[in-house]
Amino acid sequence: MRPTLAFALAFSAATLFAPLAQAAGASDTEQERNARWQEIAKSIFGDKTIESTDTLVKIEAPKRAEDAALVPITLSMPDRDKIKSVSLIIDDNPAPYAAKFEFGPAADTRELKLRVRVNNYTDMHAVVETPDGKLYEAKQFVKASGGCSAPMGMSDEEAMKGMGDMRMKFAEAQPGKPVEATLMIRHPNFSGMQMNQVTRDFTPARYIDKVTVSAGDETVFTMTGDISIASNPVINFGFKPDGKALKVAASDNQGGRWSHSFNAPSPTN
């Protein structure tokens, strides 16, 4: 809840009467953001060229997030054959590399949703890799702040209750069409930056670092995660059902291992 709706409203009103000479998006701040992106991109992708794209990947995010610890992101990648992987980078988060999804043969990449923590007003980048190894980026600016250190509002013990439990919801299946599924994993995904408000100790980082979803023998995706993924991760994805069970294997950075199997809707004719 930072910034609060209170001053969002207060400021909107206030600025109606204030000169807008220094409106956001002007030169210096923008240059600084670009320089930072170059630095991050170099450390993740090395010297590889990244071209911008309007078509291969799009990021949708609320312009102003209601809850910085739970910011919904949608990545749209309509051209399945051109997508090998997608990386989500939240530039101004202290740990900017939020997630990487590597897609397998059973993936439908049209829409991928997840919820992340946002620490500062920031650019977000989605970088897709095509099968021939080329990189393309899309960008979106998001206003949210304080998401990485926002306390969960409950004790650590309570937050860890049922850790590793999973649920899967399927949208209605149509013959021959990919199916949309929503995976929910109970896990606090402690960022390591959250202070227990009572003891004032920092809760050590404990986050889901890998999730693999497969349909039968074929991989849908493997996600490499980080502390920027919101607590109780929810991933919305598409896959091509083949009548076999959907298997999920998840692990965290403290050695937690969980796996579940879900009966996928069968494509009835």
């Binding site: 910034p3 609060t4 202290p94 007003y121 304080g146 408000q197």
Partner: protein
């Protein structure tokens, strides 16, 4: 109900208050948080009082006006630095950044209470240098929204006899909605004294 629940539960009240007051005054607190008699020693994150006795409470537009005016204020940012998790994996990208008001001096966590005596002395020493020893020089203290650090820093300065202390409770978040930010590095003297 935990703190987070409280935050959420009060959102409606905040919105209502903001609408009624039409932003005449900044930082309308959703609950009536009274000023503590001295420095606030609770957790830094939380609702702050609407006032700071002996100081003026300012909003972003006022801060911008002050910066553009003839007697430029000393801008003091006391936001805490981001804490790298102790068990953060080696080789994973860690690159904290601190956007703030351009020209501000960043003294991380200078609003902590209690502050070790030598650190408090350094804080006063830095402010004395930055104001050129002029107790009437305008000063703006801030950190983040709902952060007691800037309230405490302002309180310290008022108690020390500074007469033009301005507290900007909306902090970096309130600023960056409408103004340029600049990524700050820590004040070198402060950093040297407080360590990494």
């Amino acid at each position: 109900m935990g703190p987070r629940g409280l935050y959420l539960g009060r959102a409606a009240a905040i919105a209502a208050a903001a609408l009624c007051l039409a932003a005449a005054e900044p930082a309308d607190s959703p609950v009536n948080v009274p000023e503590p008699p001295g420095l606030y020693t609770g957790p830094q994150r939380g609702y702050t009082p609407p006032t700071l006795k002996g100081a003026r409470v300012v909003d972003g537009a006022t801060v911008a006006e002050m910066i553009a005016g003839p007697d430029k204020p000393v801008l003091i940012d006391v936001a805490m630095r981001e804490r790298k998790p102790a068990n953060f994996p080696e080789g994973r990208l860690w690159l904290p950044v601190h956007p703030s008001i351009p020209g501000a001096v960043w003294l991380p966590n200078a609003g902590a209470a209690p502050l070790p005596p030598e650190r408090e002395a350094l804080f006063f020493g830095r402010v004395e240098q930055l104001t050129g020893g002029d107790k009437a020089k305008p000063i703006v203290v801030f950190c983040h929204v709902e952060c007691w650090g800037s309230w405490n820093a302002g309180k310290r300065l008022v108690d020390k006899g500074y007469t033009a202390v301005n507290w900007f409770p909306q902090g970096v978040e309130g600023w960056q909605d409408f103004h340029e930010t600049r990524n700050l590095t820590e004040d070198p003297e402060w950093k040297q004294a407080t360590g990494p």
